[in-house]
């Protein structure tokens, strides 16, 4: 399983990568902003996308819209401090698959991956 991870915080990327490693996901491409995420993305090459919302360059919402224009099926997860209903609704309208508000529990990320990516329980 190959995952694209976009977050401007290097420490947050380490935390998320540790959570992904704990469920057996090792093939992770990490980037620090939205522009780099879109440069790294090629349809069919990733099984899941994890993106922050507030990042330099293109934000996570723009990343979701751009990827959805290329690929309607790839699961996209937003991991962000933006937890209000209106923000979640915006992300859903942009095409996000599921949503995690920071701070999040690793078990919750695991459950969402199991639900949407077919990760073994």
């Amino acid at each position: 399983m190959r995952v694209l991870l976009a977050d401007d915080s290097a420490v947050m990327r380490k935390i998320i990568i540790r959570a992904l490693n704990a469920v057996g996901i090792e093939d992770i491409v990490e980037v620090g902003d939205g522009d780099a995420a879109l440069e790294a993305y090629t349809p069919g090459e990733f099984d899941a996308i994890l993106t922050d919302w507030n990042m330099p360059g293109k934000n996570g919402l723009e990343v979701i819209k751009a990827i959805r224009a290329l690929d309607a099926a790839v699961p996209i997860f937003m991991i962000t401090t933006e937890a209000e209903k209106r923000r979640v609704l915006e992300a859903i309208q942009a095409g996000v698959t599921d949503y995690l508000a920071k701070p999040f529990e690793s078990d919750v990320l695991k459950e969402k991956l199991q639900k949407h990516v077919g990760l073994p329980a």
Binding site: A10, K14, A101
Partner: protein, 163 residues
């Protein structure tokens, strides 16, 4: 006026340190209302229907210990990971508080300032409030300075948050 917003900051801070680090944070309700000297400060600006800033103020040793716990590597000195961690913790505290306002608010990307015993200053018209905490033998603080509309924007949510 400030009690509800202070309550909100206490809730957001306790929640952030508990979830990210599994650290229990003690709110010092009767503490000195001035901010402790800071070695590292994370600053997030608010814009939109509520404006102002939220600042996380920490001693260097606490920031290094927190970062070591988060990345699983024992650090000896302040480095880029520590700066990144304090920015992210500030962002999560501000995001938690923002989620309880019934207003459309945007958060800036966090800015982090380092330097021994610095203070974050405001203009003479501002009315910043310091919320002090103890955690694992360290003293730290969250300092907020929000416009007058902030109190009305909280609604009834803060009443549900235990100090």
């Amino acid at each position: 006026m400030n009690l509800d917003i202070t309550q909100l900051m206490v809730w957001a801070t306790k929640r952030t340190f508990s979830a990210m680090l599994d650290w229990e944070v003690e709110y010092k309700a009767d503490a000195d209302p001035t901010a402790p000297p800071a070695d590292i400060s994370g600053i997030v600006g608010l814009s939109g229907e509520v404006t102002g800033s939220i600042v996380l103020i920490l001693p260097e040793a606490m920031a290094i210990t927190a970062t070591s716990g988060l990345i699983g590597d024992q650090l000896e000195e302040l480095n880029g990971d520590v700066v990144d961690t304090i920015g992210e913790l500030t962002n999560i505290i501000a995001g938690g508080a923002k989620s309880r306002f019934e207003k459309n608010i945007n958060l800036s990307l966090p800015t982090v300032v380092t330097g021994p015993t610095h203070r974050v200053a405001y203009d003479s018209q501002a009315n910043p409030v310091v919320v002090r905490f103890n955690c694992r033998g360290y003293e730290f603080a969250v300092k907020y300075c929000l416009d007058a509309s902030a109190t009305a924007a909280i609604g009834n949510n803060a009443a549900e948050m235990a100090l």
